[in-house]
Subunit: 327 residues, 2 copies
Amino acid sequence: MRDFNEITAFFIKEFDAEIGRISEQQPQNLYEPILYSLKMGGKRIRPSLLIFTYNLFKSDIDKALPLAIAIEMFHNFTLLHDDIMDKSVLRRNMETVHVKYSENTAILSGDAMSILSYEYLLKTENDNLKEILALFSKTALQVCEGQQFDMDFETSDKVNVQDYLKMIGLKTAVLLAASLKLGAILANAERDTSNTLYEIGYNLGIAFQLQDDYLDTYGDTALFGKNIGGDIYSNKKTFLLIHALEYANLQQKETLNYWIGFHNPSKQEKISAITSLYNELNIKEKTLSEIDKYFNRAKELIAQLPLSPPQKNALLSIANSMMNRNN
Amino acid sequence: MRDFNEITAFFIKEFDAEIGRISEQQPQNLYEPILYSLKMGGKRIRPSLLIFTYNLFKSDIDKALPLAIAIEMFHNFTLLHDDIMDKSVLRRNMETVHVKYSENTAILSGDAMSILSYEYLLKTENDNLKEILALFSKTALQVCEGQQFDMDFETSDKVNVQDYLKMIGLKTAVLLAASLKLGAILANAERDTSNTLYEIGYNLGIAFQLQDDYLDTYGDTALFGKNIGGDIYSNKKTFLLIHALEYANLQQKETLNYWIGFHNPSKQEKISAITSLYNELNIKEKTLSEIDKYFNRAKELIAQLPLSPPQKNALLSIANSMMNRNN
């Protein structure tokens, strides 16, 4: 069993070599933005997880590369199109594709990336290819559904915590879950094991997204790497805000709506007012407890896997590191 | 062998039933625009051709339905995204999706349609599935490349006739070609036969697109169903304009560029001036001869197919009817 960091390094090296070939393809105006978007970087967590789970059962990790590339290609396609829809101008401190090139370029290059992800899928030589394709497509469609729910929520005042958990499940957790499961299916693992790996990824994905929401308000700026309160300032429908809107009393709701509707407020004042309200409602504790619920469920499921103790420990350690935890 | 019209009617009935199911899916804001776009109609020529070629070799045409639906779904996805990129407000006299809903909706619903087309592909039960998927994906990517070349050409002054033929080959002809070939692969036809069917579709596709260009200038309004000269007025880089730009002498080029750069000209005056110039350059005859070249090649290839005379005649009659010809 290879170390996770070693697997990530292996993937990045192979991925970079592979996408290097894209630069030669014509029309340049289609392929250059694809290369640009793929070179923005990122932790390559999904393909690394896929190769890692494959490697739990098989040693020839080269065989998992096309599928790992497909997952990363698909993920980057969704980021590219999401950036257009969210009108984001920066991603990882670089101009987004629709800003650097044009919106039309971003639409079409994204479309091509979505198709390219299937091209890589098809390079997979495996008896379970049909099952792999079916899970990949189902997941891809769920990610689109998640993005639509997310956009719907931004203009709806009737979103509850359950809706929110379902949305992040689709938008974020299923792709992580599928990455783990695809590695297992590719390695011809037992069906129960593959399904458990899916559940682990799903629970981890939810925990991870909730933690992302949590850190925006309660994170340590130095560790978190972005400014505190950005989500609060932009009225983003996070777990915290939705929880607050659901459980606030009439007066608290009025205060929340006052700040949400305030055009051009003082950033510091708004963040501090809403954070106080979150504190009144014990949102910090409630969010932490929700994160723990999902994270603990993932850990329980890891313990149940029919794997060796070192294998389970390796998986646990990946899970902890995703959540920036040491224990 | 079933009649082509019968096959189209069969497809439309089954397709409408199938897409009816989409209306029940959530989120509604994702699936309703998909349904809207699929219900805009159209001749369903690609899926009908696919089923027709399948039916040349096998009688159980039900088996070809998922693949036929996939092709039609993919084609409509490209129309949806092209309409955003081209800023088209109407399609078949209905508001385009990005106008009726929003641009974000149109991007995301299109993405989902692209993935849905793979979901239908995967419903195909066939030993040649991998080959089918590979041809479908390759073709899908070529269509994106064609759209990019098309957009590039609009802002380039160095496009020649060869570039243009390559572009319409990618944007239009390969999907028609693939429709014919996919039906044959699905029916497990001989490789040579499938390849010839591909070439027939490709040549027909080029002939069809060139004829579309031709009719915009030289068509009969009553028969053509749209106003003459729309392409001329909007400076669309058709075969005619590219041919003119390539073969015009200095003075003719000056005249062309004068009208192309004229902001808000009289529509009638511009159309008539450029048509005169086309006439001077014998563009009418050259275009007709180019159409004939591709159409005749398609007919030659049909004659070479290892099929019965009634089968070849049926295919010839479809080709003629696509080109609105009786002979």
